[in-house]
Symmetry: C2
Subunit: 251 residues, 2 copies
Amino acid sequence: MLSKNQAKNIRALQRKKTRRETGLFLVEGEKIVAELLASTWNIHSLYATTTFLAAHQALVLARNIPVVECSAKALTAAGSLVTNNAAIAVAHQAATTHQTPSANAWTLALDDINDPGNLGSLLRIADWYGIEQLVCSPTTVDLYNPKVINASKGSFLRVPVQQLPLSEYFQHLPSGSNIYGAYLDGQSIHQLAPSNSGGVILLGSEAHGINAALSDYVTHKITIPAFGAAESLNVAVAAAIICDNIKRLHP
Amino acid sequence: MLSKNQAKNIRALQRKKTRRETGLFLVEGEKIVAELLASTWNIHSLYATTTFLAAHQALVLARNIPVVECSAKALTAAGSLVTNNAAIAVAHQAATTHQTPSANAWTLALDDINDPGNLGSLLRIADWYGIEQLVCSPTTVDLYNPKVINASKGSFLRVPVQQLPLSEYFQHLPSGSNIYGAYLDGQSIHQLAPSNSGGVILLGSEAHGINAALSDYVTHKITIPAFGAAESLNVAVAAAIICDNIKRLHP
């Protein structure tokens, strides 16, 4: 059974302040908690229904973590999902690693993404296209926001994210690095001959585009060609289309 | 000033039942209401701040509709947006037109899309890629749900939607029509030579894929190639990538 105090602690992790203070975050729902258990990610504790624990017994036993059996009703009341009839895991946030990109790898650099659903989608897309890492400006929404984790569908387990001023990140890249910035007036990605040695794809916010101070670092201005009347695309959709065009030419 | 009764009528349009009974729906926020006013869409009434009315005076005067001047506070309280400091329009739903596709045009057929944000994104993507129309199964979320309208960013004004059983739609297509269905085990869209005479792109729900009963109509099974470990893509993201690959070859 979930104690009042345990429920309160879970609820508190929906707040950024508590996540920052404790270094913990929530992973919710059957599929994503099962994926978490099967990964090497550091888990703090598990709250789950009898059914979930029976279905994933081996995965749970392989982890030496406190397990609390509780009802679907208690999970739903404590967590962020509309309904949760399976599990909530409390997990440790990953140490931020300031990772230099590998040769031939692609990085997705994100300036000022405010919407948690968008950041989650971007993680999922990066995971689909084998992007090595995400680099986010400090103004980007918190990676451990439950809506980011849910929208990522488990991809947060595989795609590392670092958060730092993008100008700092660009300054420390090896000279000659390719930085492809998405603009409304760049070269069509349908005509692009992207580097086969990898690079960075930079996307700005939907409202403001790429920050002028970052434009100096961009080596290639690119654009997704439009064939209709919409003024813009969602930032995650734009990232997916750019990744698809690059990976089509350099799988 | 917004009367209690007017506020109540606006709030009621957030419910599907009221939208069905009245044939009306809400359009909210500065940008999208201004776009609505500039279009030929049939508007019932307008609720707006002094600032909005001053900024869009010519557009408002050109429309012979009841206008109620009110505060941002009243708009926010009555509407579905978290904050609205501009306008809410009440508009008439479009008559459903059962439209036969034009030669060389592309149709997006959607089976069982439940999430309003996804349907809105799909409208925006269709508008970007010059897709002629959306055809949705009757189980798809209501087009006039405020979340669909908001997520479409005004694209609902330009992309017609019909809702009918997809099997019925497919049966009435001219023989020899190309129907491209998105599966996990089809031909890579990177290798595809799509028809230059247009066709239908069919997408199923994220959870269940394309309904087995519809698979018989599919003439080409297609797949978005993965380069990483994610199991799937969001349905709107998948639609965008497929449209981009088709339009790249047949602009």
